[in-house]
């Protein structure tokens, strides 16, 4: 089963670019996922100042440019992994240096979070939903 692991760094826009030390640690972690054969894809995301939010209400579409200063829990990147259970995904998340590192070393800000979400497979849907996904 596939899981997305979302990295929520809980840091401000100014601190968004990681240090070379943090990059080195993260690279090692990514290698570990690769060597275990579980990593399918990963990406890191620019800060919200380079993004925008699009929403619709009453037929009107609103576009708001970043940064979203009021917003918490901004996603900084993701991994997609293919593992045998949710427990295994959790075990991998625990090994992420952002979780293992600062949180275990007297980090006093808001701790980084890795959120784990299971990816839908066709088989997770009822039969009628599955047929709705078929092309006409």
């Amino acid at each position: 089963m596939r899981f997305m692991m979302f990295m929520i760094p809980n840091i401000s826009e100014e601190d968004w670019m990681p240090s070379s030390e943090a990059v080195a640690e993260m690279t090692k972690y990514n290698e570990e996922l690769t060597k275990a054969g579980v990593l399918l894809a990963l990406d890191g995301l620019h800060p919200t100042s380079k993004g925008a939010r699009v929403s619709g209400s009453g037929g009107r579409i609103t576009v708001t440019d970043g940064p979203f200063s009021e917003a918490k829990e901004i996603v900084g990147g993701y991994w997609m992994i293919d593992v045998s259970s949710k427990e295994e995904a959790i075990e991998w998340a625990k090994r992420c240096p952002a979780v293992e590192g600062p949180a275990n070393h007297g980090y006093d800000g808001i701790a980084p979070v890795v959120e784990i979400r299971q990816v839908f497979e066709m088989a997770d849907f009822a039969a009628e939903i599955q047929s709705a996904a078929n092309k006409p």
Partner: protein
């Protein structure tokens, strides 16, 4: 932090999936015997179940398991009162490995990777039977339980256990050492490893028996093993070739079963459902393989063929003449009647059904294909495309009687009944490629 025993059991199982190869590899190096290493690891897991539910999971669970297992080993040796000189040596070795603390499990990463690779080669050693190699690899390297392996191959747990016990005994009797194969044997030994991984994959991709057409969990296990191996021996082109082949084939898994569980063959698949992540990974692995060699090996060529399909957005866009040429190359380095059969299909798609039938003629007397349902189903398909419906029907009937997978048999019988109607004029757009042979 204490956990319920059930949740600890799940956590231990998950950790074992991640750590089994490293733990058993490290222990085998220390105790010299894979059977003993596995017993020690098992004892450590039992201890983990008990302790972790009380005190929580340690930060380095793999290192914890190795340390506990080593301690058990030394305790066991201490209990035996008299040491022969050989045991004495083992004892000294054990003492020295006790001194090296748990952290060395993390520090000497290269050593660990070597141990994992040694373990892979040992589990796939040619002295043991092919079935046993598969079982041993899934148990020791992939960390599956006996009952999971038994479910995979639709055999009893006792059968799997016995297979594993016998295999370990054979390894011990043949004095197979925990070493990497010498350079002159590397390719032959690697071939056996790749074969085991691809066997596991195929058991998931086209279940050889049973009521399900595919069992994706085995494709996932095989892919995981293949990707792991690709990082352990990154210089070997065929490893990347196999990974590429499996990634691309697996990309079609969700398109090759209908909502009702019936097989959907390549030509009929909704290509929008092909998994682009896996296709991208497969194409990258294929490039990696090609960069490492002058000419692709057998897995690389099969991956290149699969890549032709993956790149074609519609069936009509398929580059069949390139596929025929790749089959020519494959038939040269790895001749087999099955390859010839596939080549015939490619020829029929590139140059018309007559060309395919002509190529099949040469195969009809091939003893290895006697009783092979794909030969009949391919011939049936070509005859149907030529409008020779009566002959086509009897070929599909024959194929259905030979197929072991229930879903596949049903598909073939459906084709028989489609041809049995009063005006058996099939829609050419759907049947022309309805069965581009066994490249499925």
């Amino acid at each position: 932090m204490s956990e319920s025993p059930e949740s600890t059991a799940k956590v231990v199982e998950a950790i074992w999936r991640i750590e089994s190869a490293k733990v058993i590899g490290a222990l085998t190096r220390h105790v010299g015997d894979v059977g003993l290493a596995e017993d020690l690891a098992h004892d450590a897991l039992v201890a983990a179940l008990e302790q972790w539910s009380r005190s929580g999971v340690p930060v380095k669970p793999g290192a914890w398991l190795v340390t506990v297992a080593k301690r058990r080993f030394i305790d066991g040796l201490r209990r035996t009162a008299v040491f022969s000189s050989k045991q004495d040596a083992i004892y000294r070795q054990a003492e020295s490995c006790q001194q090296s603390t748990a952290t060395d499990f993390e520090v000497v990463e290269e050593q660990i990777e070597d141990d994992v690779l040694r373990l892979v080669f040992m589990a796939c050693h040619p002295v043991i039977s092919r079935d046993a190699r598969v079982a041993l690899t899934l148990k020791l390297v992939a960390g599956l339980t006996v009952s999971e392996i038994a479910r995979a191959f639709l055999v009893g747990e006792t059968t799997v256990s016995q297979r594993i016990v016998r295999a370990k005994r054979t390894l011990a009797e043949a004095r197979v050492s925990f070493e990497l194969p010498p350079p002159e044997q590397l390719h032959e030994r690697l071939e056996s490893v790749l074969e085991v991984i691809y066997l596991v994959f195929n058991e998931g991709y086209a279940a050889s028996s049973g009521s399900e057409w595919t069992r994706p969990e085995f494709c996932r296990e095989a892919l995981r093993l293949g990707r792991m191996l690709a990082e352990l021996v990154p210089q070997e082109p065929e490893v990347h070739g196999l990974v590429a082949l499996m990634e691309i084939q697996a990309s079609r898994l969700r398109a090759r079963v209908s909502a009702s569980g019936d097989p959907v063959l390549l030509g009929d698949q909704d290509r929008d459902r092909w998994d682009q992540i896996l296709i991208r990974r497969g194409l990258a692995a294929l490039e990696r393989s090609a960069r490492l060699c002058d000419a692709l090996g057998a897995y690389g060529l099969q991956a290149a063929i699969a890549a032709c399909h993956a790149r074609a957005r519609t069936l009509a866009e398929t580059d069949w003449s390139r596929i025929s040429a790749l089959y020519d190359a494959l038939a040269e380095i790895s001749p087999s009647p099955v390859v010839d059969l596939n080549r015939a299909v490619a020829l029929s798609m590139a140059f018309g059904p007559e060309a395919g039938l002509e190529a099949l003629e040469a195969l009809s007397s091939e003893p290895a294909l006697e009783g092979y349902h794909h030969l009949s189903s391919v011939r049936g398909d070509l005859l149907e495309r030529l409008g020779r419906f009566d002959e086509a029907r009897s070929e599909f009937e024959r194929a259905a009687s030979l197929a072991n997978n229930e879903r596949e048999r049903k598909l073939l019988l459906d084709r028989v009944s489609a041809l049995a109607g009063p005006s058996p004029m099939p829609d050419p757009s759907s049947t022309a490629g309805a069965n581009p042979g066994i490249e499925r």
